[in-house]
């Protein structure tokens, strides 16, 4: 079993590097379906720049040493891109989280964006905030920001539990746009029932590629699709072999 895992990791690394190369990209250009929620997010960013409001990104409360933190890393990548896209505004995004490590990383991302976009005077370290260290205290602490009139869109990306209900219901009633995505099944079902624009399953991992169009993100998405096909074929083959009594 460890050998198969090792093989999948190597396959992913090689595939990502290969698909990111110029020659392969030209030969096999990535074709992705339209995700309405992400298209609406791009529109919400444009509107926030126009009307001088902010976008709030919240990253959940996964620990950096947990396997569930990759969704928060997607949130950080998205925060980086959102910061770049809204750099023409004088209201950079704000970010909340329920974990100290994620808070420091979000401050770092916001600072990096301000350096890249030459907007250092707009950088405020308090724009990256820890709002609580337990899931509920995190949600209650973030309510202040969710209620702020200067926030026009909320982006909820990360690992959430049942506290996701607080974020989604308050955000839906206070702001024009809410994008909700999580790797947790509980949070996904809550988001689906309480918000309009939800990303289900692996759609969450497509956000950076759809926002940035960078070769490595697009390649990563292509590899993800390829692996999904392989897993599907393996599952069907396994079921057939089991039916035939070979497995």
């Amino acid at each position: 079993m460890p050998f198969i895992g090792f093989l999948i990791v190597i396959l992913t690394i090689v595939g990502t590097i290969l698909f990111a190369s110029k020659r392969v990209r030209a030969k096999y250009p990535p074709v992705f379906r339209k995700i309405a929620a992400i298209a609406k997010l791009r529109r919400a960013i444009g509107l926030s720049v126009e009307d001088g409001t902010r976008i709030h990104v919240t990253l959940g409360s996964a620990n950096l040493t947990d396997p569930a933190n990759t969704s928060a890393f997607v949130g950080l990548s998205s925060l980086h891109r959102l910061g770049q896209l809204s750099s023409t505004s004088d209201q950079p995004p704000v970010c909340t989280s329920g974990n100290g490590g994620l808070t420091l990383l979000s401050k770092d991302v916001l600072r990096a964006v301000s350096v890249e976009t030459n907007t250092r005077e707009l950088y405020d370290p308090d724009h990256g905030q820890l709002t609580g260290i337990t899931p509920f205290s995190y949600a209650v602490g973030a309510m202040d920001i969710l209620h702020e009139p200067g926030i026009s869109a909320n982006v909820l990306i990360g690992n959430f539990g049942t506290e996701a209900g607080f974020f989604s219901t308050i955000s839906e009633s206070n702001t024009d746009f809410t994008l909700a995505a999580s790797d947790s099944i509980t949070a996904q079902s809550i988001f689906f029932a309480t918000t309009r624009d939800v990303l289900i399953g692996e759609e969450l991992y497509a956000i950076p590629a759809y926002l940035a169009y960078s070769p490595i993100h697009l390649a990563s998405l292509q590899v993800q699709d390829l692996l999904r096909w392989l897993v599907g074929i393996a599952l069907i083959a396994g079921a057939i072999l089991k039916l035939l009594g070979i497995l």
Partner: protein, 205 residues
């Protein structure tokens, strides 16, 4: 500086990843301290973020005399009391643990109750938000599973066909969840690899 950060992150990531697959004592001896450092750093990051929350955000609000000054005052006092009690009694002291639990559990239970009502109310409007076939299927599934799990169909346990059908129904969400989890696992893998090869850097230094 950025290159040094990236190189350190890649080397650490590769060592930890190899440790999962190769049970070599050399890799394990390198991997364990790295994991220990990660835990320590994560704890320190938590402490820094809490101090920033208390003194950076709430202390500032107290000085600015804003509308939510009262909440910030309560948070500040609660933080100081917990800190002092924690330092003098120690985090493993049963009295200290009882005190913290006696405050935290009722508050979080109340929040859970508020959340249940908020969500029930918000879910009633679900079909207004999700006006598509997915929304309809979700709504129908919720209704069906609420009926099945409420126990009103308990009398059907003696009817073989219906009983088999109901146990089949119970497998449907498990299959769906597995499908979603497989997609998430592949997405996590791709994200992890992007960070491992240094193309995604949430650390900028």
């Amino acid at each position: 500086m950025k290159i040094i950060n990236t190189v350190i992150a890649i080397i650490s990531g590769v060592i930890v990843l190899l440790g999962y697959f190769i049970p070599s004592p050399l890799i394990q001896s390198l991997r364990q301290p790295l994991l220990d450092w990660a835990v320590i750093l994560s704890g320190i990051a938590g402490l820094i973020a809490i101090l920033n929350l208390v003194f950076g955000v709430h202390w500032k609000r107290l000085k600015e005399n804003g509308a939510s000054k009262g909440f910030s005052f309560v948070l500040f006092i609660a933080f100081l009391l917990t800190l002092v009690a924690g330092i003098f009694l120690g985090p493993s002291n049963t009295g200290f643990q009882k005190l913290v639990t006696a405050v935290q559990v009722p508050i979080e239970s109340s929040l859970m109750a508020v959340l249940a009502i908020t969500m029930a109310f918000s879910s009633l409007k679900m079909l207004q938000r999700q006006r598509n076939w997915m929304g309809f299927v979700f709504f129908l599934s919720v209704v069906i599973f609420l009926i099945i799990n409420s126990g009103v169909l308990a009398f059907t346990t003696d009817i073989p066909v219906i009983n088999d059908m109901l146990s089949g129904f119970h497998q449907v969400p498990v299959a769906g969840a597995r499908g979603i989890l497989l997609g998430i696992a592949l997405g996590s893998l791709a994200t992890g690899i992007r960070i491992l090869i240094g193309s995604d850097r949430p650390y900028n230094g």
